[in-house]
């Protein structure tokens, strides 16, 4: 992209028509990338609302969100947020998050080659006969655990990258998928250093 020319003129990012004003900025036709941000935040009342409210107020998407206290002594929680947007939007999201007083650190996991992303899902499948046998066989391939069973159902626990869970779910769908519960993405960096 030619710097200074404005990203709306086309190039590698966008096919959007030239907007006449900021109010006309449409991100609909812009190539969107997924991004995962890991945030260390002060664990205080309303902190999740600050982050979620920022996304709502500025029209950013949230694909998944996880939050829990991770260090009781220093009162910090970790929020992992999966969002999508054009590169300049993702850059804005990171800058806006960094501005929130309660946010201590923002880490773009997607752009970090050492970033690891994992998700856990609980998958309920109902079926008998060959479908039931096939479900069990597929779960074995995916290293899913059976955590509950009745004569006509299984609940599987599976962890992995979100794409792995997507594949598993698609395979389970024709075998009697009943219900799906996902944690959303968690992330951490490879190596000895902490965030």
């Amino acid at each position: 992209m030619k710097p200074g020319a404005g990203w709306f003129k086309g190039g590698d990012m966008t096919t959007a028509p030239n907007p006449a004003s900021a109010y006309d900025m449409s991100h609909e036709d812009v190539v969107e990338n997924l991004a995962t941000f890991a945030l260390l935040v002060d664990n205080e009342a309303g902190v999740l609302h600050r982050v979620v409210g920022l996304f709502a107020a500025r029209g950013y998407n949230i694909d998944s969100l996880t939050v829990a206290e991770t260090d009781r002594r220093s009162h910090t929680s970790r929020i992992t947020i999966v969002t999508r947007g054009a590169p300049h939007v993702l850059e804005q999201i990171e800058a806006q998050l960094s501005k929130v007083v309660s946010v201590r650190r923002v880490h773009d996991v997607t752009r970090d080659p050492n970033g690891i992303e994992r998700e856990l899902a609980l998958v309920k499948v109902r079926g008998t006969g060959t479908d039931r046998v096939e479900a069990l066989r597929v779960s074995d391939i995916f290293r899913a655990k059976v955590i509950d069973t009745t004569s006509e159902s299984f609940v599987f626990e599976i962890t992995g990258a979100p794409s792995k869970i997507d594949s598993f779910v698609e395979l389970m769908r024709p075998l009697g998928l009943v219900e799906l519960s996902r944690t959303g993405v968690l992330s951490i960096e490879r190596g000895a250093e902490g965030m």
Partner: protein, 605 residues
Amino acid sequence: MTAQTTTRSIAPTTAREMTGAEMVVRALVDQGVDTLFGYPGGAVLPIYDALFNDNETHGERLRHILVRHEQGATHAAEGYARSTGKPGVVLVTSGPGATNAITGIVDALMDSIPMVVFTGQVPTHLIGTDAFQEADTVGITRACTKHNYLVKDVADLPRIIHEAFHIATTGRPGPVLIDIPKDVQFSTATYQGPDEVAFSHGYAPRTKGDSGKIAEAVRLIAKARRPVFYTGGGVINAGPAASAALRTLAAMTGAPVTSTLMGLGAFPAADPAWLGMLGMHGTYEANHAMHDCDVMICVGARFDDRVTGRLDAFSPNSKKIHIDIDASSINKNVRVDIGIVGDARSVLDDMIEAWKAEGLEANRTALDDWWRQIDAWRAVQCLRYTPSTTAIKPQQAIERLYALTRDRDTYITTEVGQHQMWAAQFYRFQEPNRWMTSGGLGTMGYGMPAAVGVQLAHPGSLVIDIAGEASIQMCIQELSTAVQYGLPIKIFILNNEWMGMVRQWQQLLHGERYSQSYSESLPDFVKLAEAYGAVGIRCSDPAELDAKIMEMIDSPHPVIFDCRVEKLENCLPMIPSGKAHNEMILPEGGDDIGKVIDEAGRRLV
């Protein structure tokens, strides 16, 4: 609790144990606050009691200004803050006290005004029960403050108050709100001063710009053939030294200077390098210089839509340098080549040093050509208007007001609309902190309470609210505040009987269908002034204008000046919606104004 309410304890200032209410007063004194704007109510009575005690013991070292509506308190605090560089402080009660304050809080957020707002809250054990005058104040204000707090434990209160002042006044300034339940105001704990508390947040804004980028920026400016400075409110917020640095750097580089609405005064209007304001109602020369420049140096401005016009045609051939304390402002609306995160004063000083250290020289030959081009644009005389002998033209009213007040120590505030733009175009500011207006939020009703705040901070100065007859009615009640405290503010109403900017847009965009924009049943402003105990002056004859303005200036009382102006005058020049900087409507194109904007432009704001 009743036992506590009746026990009045006047704690000596050295005592460390005190109630939450006393801590608020003590912390304000320790923060150097001398004025606070507020309105009492059930949930802040303990703080008002502590204030009463403090005033009895120490005199009015902390002066409380009783407004007539909480919105007035916030705008007055903004006026105080903008004209002094110190934070504005507000104290209001729970529920409606807090919700009435919201408009001023959002206004301060949009215009980066340092403000600390204290709200009372129902007692902790009643929170969530829909108690009388309960509102989820921290929930409501989370999106419209820089930061906010609900105080659950009185032991945290000293830290929170000092932290709030630090957050409100550093980095990109903004409003911080502290919600204090009534039981916390009554509870006691150990007070800690500003230097004793340990902040609990990782908040640490960057003020020093990257030296590599600064060096790159000055080299780019030195090579420029058609440079322009585009400056904003950030230069004002960075203090008078930032304005001084801007003047030095502009002189060194030989570049012209334009400014946003919020930045007026940072660069003197009397300087030959001044192009006037840019943007929708900016000057022809400023907007054309922005469009045709090859290097743009944006200092403390944020490429707002009122400034950029059509984005894809915004300054298409320039390299852009953006200096801002808020990293999220850089590359938000417009992609820039060099983004420098830092305080305007610090970065400008560093740029001056880098320019000297590298022995850089501006390209004077190229600059001469650039200035010739600028002079050609100036020759268009985009602000010209046709005076009349029978009616006062609004532009003329501001020009005369300027001519008659320019040699005085004057501060100007405005409401929002046509009068605001005419004030920005025709009142020529030479110094920072002299111009208080609602830029980002565009709040009608801002000007008079802001004038109250300014006058309190500058008792001997001439403070004028340039107003419209519609805007002024939105916070008219604050005239009572001005009278109570003997504040001789001057309210100069350009009365054209229309919500002028709305009418102008309806003429432009909606086929002259003037839906609800006529100000029916206007009050008699002279009698209204008198009813409040102020002075009323009316003028409709151009021949009498100067004499009546002098009468207003010479009055030691608050004055409402009902200046009856030409009713259907349009505010020009103008970049129509959806057009570029070099597609301005000039005064002679104003008659045909409805045809200039296309269907796409009509949909914009």
